[in-house]
């Protein structure tokens, strides 16, 4: 067991990745995730077998990661919103080639160049595929630094287990803030080595490809990926239910927004409002069944995001009209306060009662 240390989110991702056996990192500077690349620059080169490359572009970085993954390394890249847009080509190829990799997105305000303040505007991009073609990526959304450390380690296991790119979706707040953290000792890496290219040591040459010209065979590959995603959807859903038991109103929020929601809930409960929180930890697969279960007792949901409403669509799809859904969001890098959210929820609660 490691001892408790105070570290910033970006550094924690780097340390957790190295502890998890990540030995290849390629990245490109962009705020607010630079501290992660800087941490890797220093610590990868101090780690035996560790490779750090400052790539010429986000596109090059993700494709270096693809090459490293094909060669059998645990590999990671990180960026922030505009940079993640550039990486989508490589993520689509990783998904098609069924190669494991971890991609960290420390989100900032957008669209366009936007700003460098924390935001949650990349939910659609992360959860709906992001790049071209028919694929999904598991998306892990930590809400505190300890969880960021744990999920970073888990991301590599998930990537190996399903041979898929995995996205860690956090925002500038998570990347920059410091909290105490205890790093776990991760289990040894388990993965199917049969896909790894090392030269035809075993006697037979292999290839990794994404081009499948025959439509029927491409369709077969699509269905194979789909079945894999179905298994993930069944087995890998994670969420936190906070004060749900007696709740009459349930906030649905993730990441930094969920922390703000907890502050709001504390205030609202003091004023007599029975408010709880469902916090999806995996944004894909999304905790649909869990939401429907809660909707058996609760008729009022409020989706709260630091965007104009993206996860809102998944909540609507999950609940299929079973309950009343409100939304509150602040896009563009604005961080709402718990007091602000509490006020909004109290107002909506009174209005809905009338």
């Amino acid at each position: 067991m490691h001892k408790k240390v105070l570290m910033s989110g970006n550094h924690v991702i780097g340390e957790a990745a190295i502890l998890a056996g990540c030995r290849f990192y390629a990245g490109y500077p962009i705020t607010p995730q630079n501290e992660l690349a800087e941490y890797m620059a220093e610590h990868m080169r101090k780690t035996p077998g560790g490779i750090f490359i400052q790539a010429e572009s986000e596109i090059a970085a993700i494709n270096m990661v693809l090459g490293a993954a094909a060669a059998g390394a645990r590999a990671m890249t990180s960026s922030s919103s505009p940079g993640i847009s550039l990486k989508q080509e490589g993520i689509s190829f990783l998904a098609c080639d069924e190669l494991p990799a971890v991609i960290v997105n420390i989100m900032r305000g957008g669209p366009g160049l936007g700003n460098i303040a924390p935001s949650q505007g990349d939910y659609f991009q992360a959860t709906k595929g992001g790049g071209h073609g028919d694929y999904r990526t598991p998306v892990l959304a930590p809400a505190h630094i300890q969880e960021l450390a744990d999920l970073t380690m888990d991301a590599f296991d998930l990537a190996d287990r399903y041979r898929t790119p995995v996205v860690i979706l956090a925002d500038g707040m998570m990347g920059q803030m410091m909290e105490p953290v205890i790093f776990k000792t991760p289990p040894p890496r388990q993965y199917d080595e049969s896909y790894v290219l090392k030269g035809k040591e075993m006697g037979k040459s292999r290839f990794i490809r994404g081009l499948i010209l025959d439509a029927i065979r491409m369709e077969e590959h699509n269905w194979k990926l789909y079945r894999k995603y179905q298994v993930m959807a069944q087995k890998e859903v994670r969420y936190e239910a906070h004060l749900i038991e007696d709740a009459e109103i349930v906030i649905v929020a993730y990441g930094t927004a969920a922390r703000i929601a907890k502050g709001a809930i504390k205030r609202l409960r003091e004023e007599g409002y029975a408010v709880g929180l469902l916090r999806p930890i995996t944004l894909w697969p999304f905790p649909e069944k869990e939401l429907r279960e809660i909707a058996k007792k609760v008729n009022s949901f409020i989706v709260f995001e630091m965007s104009t409403g993206q996860m809102l669509e998944d909540v609507k799809l999950a609940l299929e009209g079973r309950a009343h859904i409100d939304f509150y969001g602040r896009p563009g890098g604005v961080i709402p306060t718990p007091a602000e959210l509490a006020k909004v929820i109290a107002y909506k609660a009174r209005r809905n009662e009338r």
């Binding site: 010429e56 494709n63 270096m64 490293a68 290219l197 040459s205």
Partner: protein, 252 residues
């Protein structure tokens, strides 16, 4: 009777999909001959491009991966850094290497990545049906330069080998061709030298540019294509060693 010519072991017994007179199949064969002669088939990993050679993994009997269009050098960087004792080559066309993948190529060269680029220059986008490539000659017709490539409107043909030779990260760059038996033999020697350098060193990019015929998109017969290459294309892209700091005397 002594057998003097046969299929290289590293070349799979498969029919090529390339057009009649295309240079790709010749280059494939040469690479496989070199891999066999150096006995490196079990530790060679190739990176194929988007373009006519996209299914090169059907022909090379070594481990292969297909890169996204232009990303060959980034993918090769990832592989080589993780497996430094393997022999890595990228196989890239002019559009792949000198247009969409310029940044990846230039920076791999600048980092002195220790792999070999095999750069097929046929002055045209072959697979997509004959559009202008960055290496298309001034005045040359293509489907996107229907009036001939205009320097003012379409830019100049790029000499990638000369560009990369400026970088200290490159150690050996030679421009070859596969339009004649003499040039084919020279190409093989260059490929072998590049692989030998890579095997004996841990730093420095090697690149063999190969002028290759595309009779289909040049709209010529295969013999005319070979002649046009000699008479026209080599004026813009002269053959020979462009840079060599390897101190390898000549690979026979």
């Amino acid at each position: 009777m002594k057998k003097v010519y046969s299929r290289p072991k590293s070349l799979k017994p498969t029919k090529f999909h390339y057009c009649p007179g295309c240079g790709h199949s010749t280059v494939h064969r040469l690479i496989c001959e070199v891999i066999d002669e150096l006995s490196i088939a079990d530790r060679t990993i190739g990176v194929c491009p988007a373009g006519c050679a996209v299914i090169a993994y059907n022909y090379f009997d070594v481990d292969m991966i297909e890169a996204a269009h232009g990303r060959g050098c980034a993918v090769a960087t990832g592989i080589k850094r993780v497996l430094p004792d393997r022999v890595i080559f990228t196989y890239q066309g002019d559009g792949d290497l000198a247009a969409i993948g310029t940044a990846e190529t230039l920076h791999a060269a600048n980092r002195g990545e220790n792999f070999t680029i095999i750069f097929i220059n046929n002055a045209v986008y072959g697979m997509t049906g004959g559009q202008m490539a960055p290496t298309t000659l001034t005045g040359q017709f293509s489907t996107t330069t229907p009036f001939g490539r205009s320097e003012k409107l379409d830019g100049y043909p790029i000499r990638v080998s000369e560009l990369l030779a400026q970088l200290p990260g490159t150690v050996y760059i030679e421009r070859c061709a596969v339009n004649s038996p003499l040039n084919i033999n020279r190409t093989k020697k260059a490929l072998k030298k590049a692989f030998l350098y890579q095997m004996d060193n841990d730093f420095g990019l090697t690149m063999i540019e190969i002028l290759s015929q595309c009779p289909t998109n040049w709209k010529m017969s295969p013999p005319d294509a070979c002649r046009w290459m000699e008479e026209v294309m080599m004026k813009e892209y002269p053959l020979g060693i462009i840079k060599d700091v390897t101190a390898i005397k000549g690979a026979e």
